[in-house]
Symmetry: C2
Subunit: 305 residues, 2 copies
């Protein structure tokens, strides 16, 4: 009936009650079913009609600037940064991250994403929140070595953002209970690098722009089609003193991308010491609920050269 998630999103008013019925039947073992293996899952939207990624955790943006010795424009606290990304391919959650060139500076970015229904041009923040159909995670793969030149051109990211990986599962807002509120998802985003805790930031903290604000920003001049994927940007928490956070090993919440620890190393010691991703490195991104169950399944990728 709905051969793809996109087809359900295209006809959500009709699809939602049917799919909820299927979910209930599955939950009650009322229908025959096979076990769902995350490792076999494609991206829930293996290709999408839109992928627009914000920078909602302005703390992260401020650190990037600080490491470059540049001031953060005051408008960055009120006017969201957002780029239009390539949406023609999202990697499955267990697919390798291709490594091509050490100079490209391969990095992960652990983020929250939402998938919208149709959003009319000029939608308010509240209308935008009401249009959020599904929530999940993304590893927004980035090529740090290529970003400065593309930023200087002003036209956004074309070469510095290869395909991202989506979490194996997207969930409805209501299924998240109190963790989803006012267009923000609360909960610890667990990022492991080579099996070690690397990031434990709470996605609900320090999010300057909620998803309603991000979507309304994108929809200011045009409508958005059902199935648009909107990203939060790299999740990032400040330290308790308001400054840059500490690593998990040092008792802090760590980082959701390598660039951030490199910026902190640069601010503190003048130069970065943590390398970007190399062939053989593994990245795992996951969020657990209050009962320690994985909400979206895990993105788990190995870098392969």
């Amino acid at each position: 009936m709905f051969p793809t998630l996109q087809s359900a999103l295209d006809d959500w008013a009709h699809a939602e009650p049917i799919l909820r019925g299927v979910a209930d039947s599955l939950a009650h073992d009322a229908v025959p079913h096979a076990r769902f293996h995350e490792r076999d899952a494609a991206a829930p939207l293996p290709r999408a009609y839109q992928w627009a990624d914000g920078s909602a955790y302005v703390n992260h943006v401020e650190l990037v600037r600080k490491a470059r010795g540049a001031e953060l424009p005051a408008s960055f606290w009120t006017d969201p940064l957002m780029y239009q990304g390539g949406s023609d391919s999202f990697l499955p959650p267990r697919d390798p991250i291709p490594f091509h060139d050490a100079g490209w500076g391969l990095d992960l970015e652990a983020e929250i994403v939402v998938v919208t229904g149709d959003v009319p041009q000029g939608a308010t923040r509240e209308q935008a929140i009401a249009a959020i159909r599904l929530i999940g995670l993304v590893n927004d793969v980035s090529l740090r070595g290529l970003i400065p030149d593309e930023l200087a051109k002003g036209f956004g990211f074309v070469q510095s953002k290869p395909a991202s990986a989506l979490s194996p599962v997207l969930v409805t807002p209501d299924s998240l209970g109190a963790a989803w509120s006012d267009g923000k998802l609360s909960g610890v985003l667990c990022v492991d690098l080579n099996g070690q805790p690397f990031g434990r930031a709470d996605a609900g903290d320090d999010m300057t722009f909620d998803f309603g604000t991000l979507i309304a920003h994108l929809a200011k001049t045009r409508s958005l089609g059902a199935g648009s994927i909107i990203g939060s940007g790299t999740v990032s928490n400040r330290g308790p003193d308001g400054g840059p956070g500490k690593s998990v090993a040092a008792g802090g919440r760590g980082y959701s991308c390598i660039a951030e620890i490199r910026m902190i190393e640069t601010i503190e010691a003048g130069a970065p010491t943590s390398p970007f991703l190399q062939p053989g490195d593994t990245v795992r991104i996951e969020m657990l609920d209050a009962r320690n169950h994985s909400i979206f399944g895990a993105i788990e990728q190995t870098v392969t050269g």
Copy 2:
């Protein structure tokens, strides 16, 4: 068998001979058919998985800079400018252009587009040219008043590029004969504004980067999915003296966007006099073949407030 153009592009090796057979049958009146009315046509890809727009006519970019008193970086002649656009909605060729706010500076941009098959990461220019399946026209609607702030942010165009309109018909490269050569389309791109000739630039002239080069640029770090739409940027010709071209009324080839005539007015007289698009204005974009037949049908839009 192929309910959408995307489904044919997804399976082109299989689809192409079948669709050529259908086209032959239609051309020979061998099958019953209804007349094709451009006015009833949706965009050939009403939504696409990718829309990436280059600035292949560097003359246009140089004029923009000159009007701002800025130098063109030398790298702009060798490294293509390109932005990732919103691909979730392409307007039908006869749909109105929505007018929302006079301060947004509504403009047209008449361009050539190509639609690709799958393109592997790292494709050469030659491989990229071989992956071009279809060619057409686009009116890349732009909001000039919003561009400077978005350019300054460096993240590309999010609010300043609302939905574009595609030509009613896309054609295969071979059907263009000698007009399609080495990844470039030659021919006069006719742009009329309110029924008057506004642009008569030749798309084959002054195109610094051919489509193979543009596609290879985009595919440097990632593969491209079938159905990716790649734009040339605003078609723009130099004058015979190498300087900015003259208006059609003054015997020149005119312009493919209003911004360009405003830049020339600014360079010549210190300030622009031509207004951006207003409600009631009409835009027509078309290319004729050697026998004066319309190749792609016409994009014909009225601005409605």
